[in-house]
C-alpha cells in the first residue's frame, strides 16, 4: 500500500497540526465571527463599561445599578411587563395550538392550506407602528370602531374607556400582541404537526384512541420542543414590545402599561441617564439569560 504524502503544509496548533481543510474552514468562518464580534460583543462590552461609569466616563462601580434598582418606576415596569406576558403568552399558545390542530385535522386541500398559510404570515410582516395606528382607530375614545360596533349591536349604552382604564388599557395593548403573534405560534405548531408520522396516528386510531388521546400521546410529544422554541422567541419579543404600546397608551394611564422597553427608552432618551439605562440593560440581559437557562432545563429541547 502506498502512503500518500500530505498535500500541503500544515500548522502546529497545540499538539496537532491543522489540515489545509481545517484552515480553510476557519478562514471562511472568520468574517462571520468578525461580524458577531463587531455587532454583538463590542456593544455589549461598551454597555457594561457604561453601566459602571458616570457621565464623564469616571468609573463609579455599581452606583448606576443601585440607582436603577432604587427607582420605583422600575418595579412598575416589571409588574406591567409580567402582567403583559402572563396575558399574551398563554392566549397566543392556546389559540395558535387550536388553529394548528383545526387546520391539520380538518383542512386537507393543499390550496386552502396555502391560503391560510399566507393569511397567517400577513400580521407578522405588517410594521408594528401601522398595527398600533390601526389599533388606536379601534380602541380610541370618541371615534373607536369597537365602541361604535358595540353600541350599534345594543351591547352597551355608554362608551367604554378602553385606553383610559388601567385594566382595559392592558387588555387592549395585549390584544394587539395576540392578534399579531398568534399566527406565528400557529405556523410553528402546524409545521410541527406535519412531522407526526402518519403510521403512528393510524396505529393509534386502530387501537381506538380518541381525539384527545391522539393529541396527548402522539402530537404533543412532537410539539413539546417547539413550545420551548415559541416561549424563547415570544419572551424575547415581549421584552422588545414598544411601538403599539407607545402609540396606543404611551405607557398610561399613569404607568400601568409602561413596559420595560418603554421604561428603558424613557430613561435613556427622556431622562438622558445613559448610566442607569445601561445598568438596566445589563440587569435585563442577565436576568433573562438566567430565565432562559431555567426554561431550557425544565423543558428538554430534544426528545430522548
Amino acid at each position: 500500500m502506498n502512503v500518500l504524502p500530505a498535500r500541503t503544509s500544515s500548522v502546529r496548533v497545540g499538539r496537532r497540526r491543522l489540515s489545509r481543510d481545517e484552515r480553510l474552514g476557519y478562514l471562511l468562518i472568520l468574517p462571520s465571527l468578525g461580524a458577531v464580534f463587531v455587532i454583538v460583543t463590542i456593544p455589549f462590552v461598551l454597555v457594561v463599561i457604561q453601566s459602571i461609569s458616570s457621565e464623564d466616563g469616571t468609573l463609579i462601580g455599581l452606583r448606576n445599578f443601585t440607582r436603577a434598582l432604587a427607582n420605583p418606576l422600575l418595579y412598575d415596569a416589571i409588574r406591567a411587563t409580567a402582567e403583559y406576558t402572563v396575558l399574551v403568552l398563554p392566549v397566543e399558545i392556546l389559540l395558535g395550538l387550536s388553529f394548528a390542530l383545526l387546520v391539520h385535522r380538518t383542512v386537507l386541500r393543499p390550496g386552502l392550506r396555502a391560503a391560510i398559510y399566507v393569511l397567517a404570515i400577513l400580521p407578522l410582516v405588517v410594521p408594528p407602528v401601522a398595527i398600533g395606528v390601526v389599533a388606536r382607530l379601534i380602541y380610541a375614545p370618541g371615534y373607536g370602531v369597537l365602541n361604535v360596533i358595540l353600541e350599534r349591536l345594543g351591547l352597551m349604552h355608554q362608551e367604554v374607556n378602553w385606553l383610559g382604564d388601567p385594566t382595559l388599557a392592558m387588555l387592549a395593548v395585549a390584544s394587539v400582541d395576540v392578534w399579531q403573534w398568534t399566527p406565528f405560534v400557529y405556523l410553528v405548531l402546524f409545521s410541527g404537526l406535519q412531522t407526526v408520522p402518519r403510521e403512528s396516528v393510524e396505529a393509534a386510531q386502530i387501537d381506538g384512541a380518541n381525539w384527545w388521546a391522539q393529541f396527548r400521546y402522539i402530537d404533543l410529544a412532537y410539539l413539546r420542543p417547539l413550545f420551548v422554541l415559541i416561549i424563547f422567541f415570544r419572551l424575547a419579543d415581549v421584552l422588545r414590545v414598544f411601538d403599539h404600546v407607545f402609540i396606543l397608551t404611551g405607557g398610561g394611564p399613569g404607568t400601568t402599561t409602561q413596559l420595560l422597553s418603554l421604561y428603558m427608552y424613557r430613561v435613556e432618551f427622556k431622562f438622558f441617564d445613559a448610566g442607569q439605562a445601561a445598568a438596566l440593560a445589563v440587569l435585563v440581559l442577565v436576568s433573562f439569560s438566567l430565565l432562559y437557562s431555567l426554561i431550557s432545563r425544565a423543558l428538554p429541547l430534544e426528545r430522548a
Partner: protein
C-alpha cells in the same frame, strides 16, 4: 493560463473580500475632518415633520432659486428629531447645517455646547418688530429665571431664532357664548352651562407625559403654582400647584370628554372640529391645521381665540412652544446657514412664509388685518407674546421632569391617584432626579 481548483478560488475570493471591504470606510475616514474651503452648494436642515415645517418646505425652494444653494430638508417625527439631534451633537456630526428645535430643547443643547452662537459669529442683532421674549427663548444661559448650576457665570449668546411663534392659547365657541371667559372660574361656569350629552363643556388633553404636561402647565402657572421656584426648589407639591391640578382633574373633568386620560391634540381637535366640545386650550398649528381648516372643520368662524384666562391671582400665563432654527457646531456651512436664517426672518420673506401657513413672530405681521382674516388667532397670539408668556423651566433635565410631571397629571386625570398624591409623588421623583443632576433641591 494556470488553472486553480474551486477550493483555491473560494479561498482567494474570501481573502480578497476581507482585504477590500474596509477600503470605502478608510477612504471615507480620510476624507472627513478636512474642512472644505469651497463655496456652499447645499444646506441640509433637520426638521420636525408636520405642520411646523410645512411652510419652511414651501419657502425653501424660493431661497434656493435666489441663492443657488440647494436646500435639503430632512424630516423626523418630534421624538426622533430630538434623539437624532442629541446623538448627532454628541458625535459633533456635520450631517446638518441647520436644525429645527422646540424651545424646551434649548437648555439641553445649550448645556451641551452643541450650537454656534448667532450673535458673535454671524452678527445677529435684535429687531424691535420681534418681541424680546422670542430672542430670550433662543438665548443661553437664559436671560431671566433660574439658571442651571453648571451654566451660571457663562456669557449669554443667541443660539436660535424662532421661526414658529407658537404660544399656547385658549379657544371657545363664540357662537354659543357671547362673552369671552376672562378667568378659569368663567371657564368652569361655561363648561357647566354648555355641557350636555355628546357635547362636552371642556376638552382635557390628558394623555401621559408631554400632552398632559403641556395642557396643564398654563393652569398650574395661572393658579400661582409652578414646577420650580427661582432657586430650583421643587414646587409641585405646593398648595397652589395642587389646587391647580385639582381644578383641572376634578372640577373641569366633570364636564370633560370621556377617556380624557388618553386624549392627545389630534383627538381634541377632532372633538372641537366636529362640534362636540365647547372649549379648550390650543396651539396655533391646531387652529390652522384642523379647527379652521376648510373641508375638515364644521366650526369655521365659530371659534374665538384668546390668551390663557386668569387664575385666582389675576394672572393668566400662556406657555411658549416656539420652534427655532439653530446652526449645529459641527456644520461646515455656518455662514451660509446664517444667511438663510437672516433671509427667512426678513419682513417680506416672513410675510410670504405666513402666506404659506407659517406662524410669525413679527408684531407687524401678527397685527396685519389682511393676514389676520386668514388667521383668526393672530391677535390673541400677538397679545400672548406681548404679555411675556412663560417658558418651560430652562433645565437640561426638562425631559425627565416633564415625563414625571406629565405622568402624575395623567394619573390624576385617570383617577388612579388624587391630585395631591400624584403631585407629592412626582415632586419626590423630580427632587431625586434634580439632585442627581447636581441641582439644589
Amino acid at each position: 493560463m494556470q488553472s486553480i481548483t474551486r477550493r483555491e478560488f473560494v479561498k482567494r475570493t474570501a481573502l480578497a473580500g476581507a482585504l477590500l471591504t474596509p477600503i470605502p470606510a478608510i477612504l471615507e475616514a480620510c476624507s472627513t475632518g478636512t474642512p472644505t474651503t469651497t463655496k456652499t452648494t447645499k444646506l441640509t436642515i433637520a426638521a420636525v415633520q408636520g405642520a411646523e415645517d410645512g411652510p419652511l418646505k414651501k419657502v425653501a425652494p424660493m431661497y434656493q432659486s435666489q441663492s443657488g444653494i440647494t436646500m435639503e430638508i430632512v424630516e423626523f417625527p418630534y421624538d426622533q428629531l430630538f434623539e437624532k439631534l442629541v446623538t448627532t451633537f454628541q458625535a459633533n456630526g456635520s450631517s446638518y447645517d441647520l436644525c429645527m428645535m422646540d424651545d424646551p430643547w434649548m437648555p439641553k443643547f445649550g448645556t451641551m455646547g452643541a450650537l454656534q452662537p448667532l450673535d458673535s459669529n454671524f452678527g445677529f442683532t435684535r429687531d424691535s418688530d420681534i418681541p424680546s421674549i422670542v430672542y430670550d427663548v433662543g438665548t443661553w444661559p437664559p436671560p431671566h429665571g433660574p439658571v442651571p448650576p453648571s451654566e451660571q457665570g457663562k456669557s449669554q449668546h443667541l443660539y436660535g431664532i424662532t421661526i414658529v411663534g407658537n404660544v399656547e392659547m385658549f379657544m371657545y365657541r363664540k357662537d354659543l357664548a357671547t362673552t369671552a371667559p376672562s378667568s378659569w372660574d368663567d371657564v368652569l361656569a361655561n363648561a357647566m352651562k354648555f355641557n350636555k350629552p355628546n357635547f362636552y363643556g371642556y376638552v382635557i388633553r390628558g394623555k401621559a407625559t408631554n400632552p398632559a404636561s403641556s395642557d396643564s402647565l398654563p393652569i398650574l402657572w395661572s393658579f400661582g403654582g409652578d414646577i420650580f421656584d427661582t432657586s430650583w426648589k421643587v414646587m409641585l407639591d405646593s398648595t397652589e400647584s395642587i389646587d391647580a391640578i385639582t381644578f383641572l382633574t376634578q372640577s373641569l373633568k366633570k364636564y370633560a370628554e370621556p377617556g380624557a386620560a388618553n386624549i392627545d391634540a389630534a383627538d381634541r381637535d377632532r372633538l372641537i372640529a366636529i362640534g362636540q366640545a365647547f372649549q379648550s386650550t390650543t396651539w396655533p398649528a391646531e387652529v390652522t391645521g384642523v379647527v379652521e381648516a376648510q373641508g375638515v372643520s364644521q366650526v369655521i368662524g365659530k371659534m374665538a381665540y384668546i390668551p390663557i384666562p386668569k387664575g385666582p391671582g389675576g394672572k393668566g400665563l400662556g406657555m411658549m412652544g416656539n420652534w427655532l432654527l439653530g446652526i449645529p457646531k459641527g456644520s461646515k456651512n455656518g455662514s451660509a446657514a446664517a444667511d438663510f436664517i437672516k433671509w427667512l426672518i426678513k419682513s417680506d420673506n416672513m410675510k410670504t412664509y405666513v402666506q404659506n401657513g407659517g406662524i410669525p413672530t413679527r408684531t407687524s405681521l401678527l397685527n396685519d388685518p389682511t393676514l389676520g382674516q386668514a388667521n383668526p388667532y393672530f391677535p390673541a397670539l400677538a397679545q400672548s407674546l406681548a404679555a411675556q408668556p412663560n417658558w418651560r423651566p430652562r433645565t437640561d433635565q426638562w425631559n425627565a421632569v416633564e415625563t414625571i410631571y406629565g405622568t402624575a397629571v395623567n394619573q390624576a386625570v385617570a383617577g388612579l391617584k388624587s391630585p395631591k398624591d400624584a403631585l407629592t409623588a412626582a415632586a419626590a421623583q423630580v427632587r431625586t432626579a434634580m439632585k442627581q443632576a447636581g441641582y439644589p433641591s
